[in-house]
Amino acid sequence: MSAEVDLDAFRQEVREFLAERLPPRTAERALAGYYLSRDEMLDWHRTLADRGWIGFNWPEEHGGPGWTPLQRYVFEDECARAGAPIINTVGLNQVASLLFAFGTEEQKRQHLPPIRQGSVMWCQGISETQSGSDLASLRCPAVRDGDEYVVNGSKIWTSGAHISEWCILVVRTDSSGRKHDGITILLLDMKTPGITIRPIVGLDGMHSLNEMFLDDVRVPVANRIGEENEGWRMMRVYLGNERISAAGIWKLKVHFSRLCSLARKEVRNGRPLIENRRFRDDMARTLIRMRALEVLLLDIIDKPEKATGVEASVLKLRGTELQQDLLRMLSDAAGYYALPFFPDTMKDGWGDQDPVGPEFAAPSTPNYLFWRKATISAGSSEIMLNLIARNVLG
């Protein structure tokens, strides 16, 4: 495999693939900011899997495409511009990285192919009501009983638990020593008896978050990743990997592009919004920061130690702030039409109905509200600042 890849040719190849295989309707909906259905996302996942363009970090022998980091970057860039769905990556990224690093052959055999194919969805059972940023303080107890663990506890903020087949469940198997030393990672089959899921309605009026209650849930020891009580070490790898994708560079470009197009159409006080100096200044400032962020990203993209180091924290912090700035602008652009609340349109658009106000308005404020969570989840901004400070101050 040549170390020098013709990126322009590759970009062209990706564009052709997208033009051929990305359903226009899905792309339109994604670019307009609507929430895609599980089917839309899974269909796209399968399309990618068929082409072999999935599992970017995966070793080639497990089906990874063997791309350089820059190829991956180009691919994600083109996909975002074209409106390709952002597929569920818990399985592809987080679970897979755990399995590659710490999983048994049997676990890899069982889980990697369905993850790669997109035939299962994964959720994360990590946070608890009293353990947010202080993740290591988690309590959910798992007691060994023969060749099973018996779990009795609860988890919260589990996105997609209600539609997932499997769950990464982080439990406590030892409370006697330091909190970091008693954590174990289990793979939980969501069909296991004893699991109750309570939906949590978000600020966008939608249901994606959940609380999960586990009553005498039995998990085979064979579903444990790595050794008992070694979970924290593994979690640090797991969490570190999330940061760059949580920065959402590609989302920024999509949001910005949408903002540009509607700023030309929406009229405020007789002039298109793009001519409003204040609005345009805000857009300019954001665009400048996006460029800086992209340069930072490209600098670390092929340096694995930086991908989990302070640079990743900077990217996550800034990237999520910029996401929020753009979503705020998209909401503000709606003017009075930021007020009407039509939750159904967030999934399906207006369909045959006449829109209330400009079409972009209906999802824009709910999106802005829900994504206040970007600076909270996957490592809050405060945690990022701690990590950065530690690095700066030594």
Binding site: S127, Q130, S131, G132, S133, D134, S137, I156, W157, I200, V201, G202, L203, G205, L209, V267, R268, N269, G270, N276, R278, F279, S331, D332, G335, Y336, Y337, A338, L339, P340, F341, F342, V356, G357, T365, P366, Y368, L369, F370, R372, K373, T375, I376, S377, S380, S381, E382, L385
Partner: protein, 391 residues
Amino acid sequence: MLRIETTDEQNLMVDTAHRYLRERYSFDARQKVLASAAGRDDRVWKDFAEMGWLSLPIPEPHGAGGNLFDLALLMETFGAALVVEPYLPTVVLAGTALSAGGSEAQKAEFLPAIAEGRARMAVAFAERHSGYDHFDIETVAARDGGGYRITGAKSVVLGAPDADHLVVTARLDGRPGRDAVALFLVPRQCPGLAMRDYVTIDGRRAAEVHLADVAVPEAARLGEEGGGADLLDRVVLSGTVAVLGETAGLAEAAVRLTADYLNTREQFDRKLSSFQALQHRVAHLFVLKEELRAICRFAARSAAVDPDGEGTREAISAAKALAGESGRKICEETVQLHGAIAITDEYVAGHYLKRMVALDHLFGNASHHFDRFVDIVRDLRPDGAAGAAGS
């Protein structure tokens, strides 16, 4: 005069309101109101009437004759409790339109009904392409015999779904200019009037209102021909003051909630309030809130004393600009400092932010008012004399 003092009477009103709302309009009670089909609590509305709050800004003899500063103080308590009841459309907007523009007969018919809680009304002043300029009106009121026929489409009319009557802005015969602006009192059950109602992001009820050749008599026009622009300015002023009051009260409550949370929540084996970084952040929120409340009260007082003065126009825009910017910042920080729990509808923190988004847009957002302020203030004009006396 920048010094603002509240009277004993005002303090009593505010204390009573806070106490009532704490008991009767807790977050749980409010959640029930939000979930109800009507989106309001009629018993609460009766209580409001009995407390005299529905008659507060309505002039004597039909109401208590309170001024815009009194109104702002009461609205602070409503903002703190995130009251959903349609006080703004019925009492403030329609109440002002009728008391400042209604005939004696209309005042006698409607103002007591508003004050006693028997009437529900709404004012339709925004349109699809008007942005925040309430004079950008495409709705036409065409002269037709002794009356008018009104045709047009109104946007985001708060309180419309429940209203028995709507006050609608239109241009006489579609003519441009201030003297062609008019306000009309239109019964809800009027041929040609259609509504598409919905819930707002902050749990209130509003509608898109369509008028197709809605016939109204001459008497439906509020005030004299040519007087509509001044009347509309007065309605918007009272609405803006109400929104400023609500914002100041909401900001206060959000900061209080955040401080309490930081004092309660523990992570890393210590209270969040023990982290200096967070102490400074909540202190900063306090500063923003104090600043905000000061400037909102100043604007309200100015409006009470001199509603038509340029000083008031300046004060209102200053306050609305800061209210939007600081109010938003306070509410976003409130969410951030609470963490994931604030991303759910189940907890109050996110609801402050939702209400703040709505309050920012009503009567012009921060950006709009920064622009207006820059235009009004002589010192900021390129051609203004430096340090001009009496400016």
